[in-house]
């Protein structure tokens, strides 16, 4: 691997989405990332979706390109071993990511005794020490109440663990920022963030807190409309559904022009006295606009306008399920340099993504499958923990580490 972070070594003690995604993002940028787990596999070893074999597609997806070691951390020897791995020497090592809340042997105070310039990034649930997951943070901060069809009272949960994904990426930034500081000042540090704070800060950044504080109306659900300007889904003559956007002035003019509705739009402006070049007026009149555009889409198949829309530079897309996208969209195939179709033992054959980022200074790194649990145990014990063959043999004999090839399974 010759990625942009080549030479960096990161150790990860994690489960689920955010921290595994952070480690994998670093691995796909060329860092050596070592994930340690319990002998029986992490809490996420059996997370759905599963392949027909019962192996976790989720785990395989979020741990690509890492090295794996499985350790009995209930034993003092196991704790000592993990400590050695986290604090192993190396100018570009001593970087540790975790969302496991282990006080004592695995906290920053203890670990930094073994390596003063350790950078440790810890993700927690909330600032009170309560556990939180994406599924609890999201309702607590109001997103499900803004999601779903207009008029529906019930909250609608998000299908995507957005806060986890955002937090995972922020963990990467935080690690790189702290490592940059260490390169300059020689100083390690304890870096902390919570999933709930990530979500709370983000809704603040988007103006939702300000909106709730200074505006009288509660921001409600708006179905599939683009909030605050114009954007809407339409069903076409072939039964397919499209999303079209009129957020910027250019997008809006293009949409009106391509649908030949300039006269009707002008009449709507006259009737209401609202200038639809103003995005807020488009939002206020969105239902009327949708009424004017609906017939145009209802009379056309997607193929009737797709080329023209693209030539005009309109911002639009077709609705697809993931399966349909996989079957139809070249962006999810090897036609896209980000993907490599590969056969993975116990999982199947499908397109696997590398990093979405292209760095001109290095070659694109093809994706590397996730390891079997414990697959790199011997290598890590020798090269990182710097144990000799006798010590390694003893750790295996005592069951402190597990032979490679043990398959990750859900913990009972």
């Amino acid at each position: 691997m010759n990625g942009i972070l080549k030479g960096m070594r990161v150790v990860e003690g994690s489960a689920f989405v955010a921290v595994p995604l952070a480690g994998m993002t670093l691995a796909q940028m060329g860092a050596e990332v070592i994930r340690f787990d319990r002998i029986e596999g992490g809490l996420d070893a059996g997370r759905w979706p599963l392949a027909p074999s019962g192996n976790s597609l989720f785990w395989a997806g979020l741990n690509k390109g890492k090295k794996s070691i499985a350790v009995n951390m209930k034993s003092p020897e196991g704790q000592e071993l993990v400590t050695r791995i986290i604090t192993a020497p190396g100018e570009d090592a001593g970087l540790f990511l975790t969302n496991l809340r282990v006080r004592g042997w695995m906290d920053y105070e203890t670990l930094s005794q073994y390596r003063k310039d350790l950078v440790m990034v810890t993700l927690m649930g909330d600032r009170h020490g309560n556990p939180q997951v994406d599924y609890t943070v999201n309702p607590a901060l109001g997103i499900p109440q803004m999601t779903g069809p207009e008029g529906l009272k019930a909250p609608v949960a998000s299908a995507l663990p957005a806060w986890d994904l955002i937090a995972g990426n922020l963990i990467v930034s935080s690690l790189l920022a702290a490592e940059r500081h260490r390169l300059r000042k020689g100083q390690g540090q304890d870096v902390e963030l919570t999933l709930k704070d990530v979500a709370a800060a983000t809704i603040g950044h988007l103006g939702l807190i300000g909106d709730a504080a200074v505006n009288r109306e509660e921001r409600g659900k708006c179905g599939n409309s683009l909030y605050g300007a114009y954007g809407q889904d339409f069903i076409c003559a072939d039964g397919r559904r499209v999303m079209v956007i009129g957020l910027t002035a250019r997008q809006w003019r293009g949409l009106v022009e391509m649908t030949g509705t300039a006269e009707e739009i002008a009449a709507l402006e006259s009737k209401t006295g609202l200038d639809l070049r103003d995005e807020g007026n488009r939002w206020k009149l969105r239902h009327a606009i949708t009424g004017l555009l609906g017939e145009w889409f209802a009379m056309r198949r997607v193929e009737d306008f797709a080329e023209d829309f693209n030539a005009k530079g309109l911002t639009w897309s077709v609705f697809r399920t993931v399966k349909e996208a996989l079957a139809e969209d070249p962006d999810l195939t090897d036609d896209n340099p980000m993907f490599s179709t590969m056969t993975q033992p116990g999982l199947g054959t499908f397109p696997v993504p590398g990093s979405p980022v292209t760095f001109s200074a290095t070659e694109r790194q093809p994706p590397v499958p996730a390891p079997a649990l414990g697959a790199h145990t011997e290598e890590i014990l020798g090269d990182v923990a710097r144990l000799d063959d006798t010590e390694i043999a003893q750790l295996f004999d005592k069951g402190i580490v597990q032979s490679p090839g043990f398959v990750a399974r859900p913990a009972a």
Copy 2:
């Protein structure tokens, strides 16, 4: 400002969510971030939500702590000026973020002629050069088809621009990774990513592409259930709705114990022959489990069990609107060190978030409000572009730059 990135200077030419968020994230970590805009303000200058004054809460939220300069970029002098700012000398400068697709004077090939070690990160819509926004990428990749109540056929759009938020954070990581490379090798580079690739990679990482490829069933909507294990919303006796999680074995045991449903759960296991210690079986039997737990919640107010749930370490939350959260949740007040309640001219008084990341090596940086458009024009012309007073006066006279205090308004 003494943040972890103190001394770094980043220039941003942007609009909307992803790149502004990236710049702001860097600013909240202590970097000097200069956003340049058109004289009339960027495409996002009037993005909703708005304050009663008509000023954009969205813009203010995503541009906190930046310096602002407004430039007429249609003029050769304006283009030269922006080029000077982007490529200005400084060991920790020459870092440029953009999602504006300007070929010619503002592309990497041209800009890097003025500063060989320039690091430029560009976010595009998709790899074909088509424009894409969160609202089009999301339906194209299947998320709305997985969102919403079980049985509903229509797709449900996301209320949160998750892909933009993820891309914004990945832009920060990419910039830091490329700058790290430059520190070591002296080499700048052109870094590119597309919003659609960010989304496509992420659904791959989460196992959704593998799921679609190897499993026969289309993953459908599952309402407010936690996919693949157990988690559900319940309405309590006080009319409030809670989300409770049984994802890990520990969470599940705790939930059964606290609700006193061990016998009923055991009976369900006997009847079905499915061991509910297996998360997949919890998913398969989620409706039956919800039936068993529902009455318990229906008979209790949130206050009847909240303390016990927290003491037991259960993972759960109350559903709130953003307004309710702002009124009730101390995590959205100055009780949380991340927030500072401030009065911002033209916006109002409300809690404003700083960075969710705490770096032990530096003091927490309080949030800094967004600038008025062009507020730092003179400072940037002098300190960054290194122009003398005569040159600066000429730029103002010719209208190449705008006097500070000009208020950001929607572009017609």
